[in-house]
Homo-oligomer: 115 residues x 2
DNA sequence: TTGAGCTATGTCGTATTGACAGGTACCTGC
DNA sequence: GCAGGTACCTGTCAATACGACATAGCTCAA
């Protein structure tokens, strides 16, 4: 039960972060949902399920950060590929900068002994 | 209106992170709520308001990561100081490690061109 | 003495999000 | 056929950050 807080914390920490992670993998080239799940799973502490990735992809598409197109597959149903738009690429840059600033901010707080 | 998404994203990204930030400033020594707000405000992109900090402090106290004690002030109402407990200090270490792993994870996704 | 303004703590309602269970459906090989 | 892997999507839930608001002590100038 004492670990309940820690688990909850990691869950909260993912909010917003998964969007950044997904945009970043898409920065490497078009991917379909199922593959994104696997790709993020490689990076420890970013494991997600299908039920998590599709709502996020929908949101990103609504914002026109990504666009999708269908492609047949030789093994299984057709795949819906997602690709970064120009708009998405520029937004990703902004987000990555913000992310780095956050990281530095936390790092500074840790160093500031006393005042 | 297009910027609505970005603002919302930054809000979501803070979830969980503020707890880490607050624990980290407390790592430097006891502080009271109002001062924590100012201290975090120094670090850009970590600005918070009172309505945010007090609920978090309550949560941290419930988990016994911090303990509080009252102290008179020469200017204004008495202050409620918060101090890291041993438990909080050990948890903070764990959380900082998790945070660094996340940062590396995102960094790797960004580098992985293609596959 | 009055009251403006800063200090300080706290609560409530709202909006948004990630997790997960569950559902649909396609395709291949046996 | 039909089992099993592939692929996508929906609804519900709990948790959080934040603005708005409430309360109150202290200081200082008019």
């Amino acid at each position: 039960m004492p670990e309940l807080f820690y688990e909850n914390w990691t869950t909260q920490l993912r909010k917003g972060l998964l969007e950044l992670a997904i945009l970043n993998v898409l920065g490497a080239g078009p991917l379909y949902g199922y593959e994104i799940v696997r790709r993020l799973g490689d990076a420890d502490s970013l494991v997600i399920t299908e039920g998590t990735v599709y709502p996020i992809l929908s949101r990103l598409r609504n914002e026109q950060y990504v666009e999708s197109y269908i492609e047949e597959s030789t093994s299984g149903p057709p795949r819906k590929y997602y690709r970064l738009t120009a708009r998405g690429r520029s937004e990703l840059r902004k987000m990555n900068e913000h992310w780095e600033r956050l990281h530095e901010g936390i790092g500074q707080l840790r160093k500031e002994r006393g005042r």
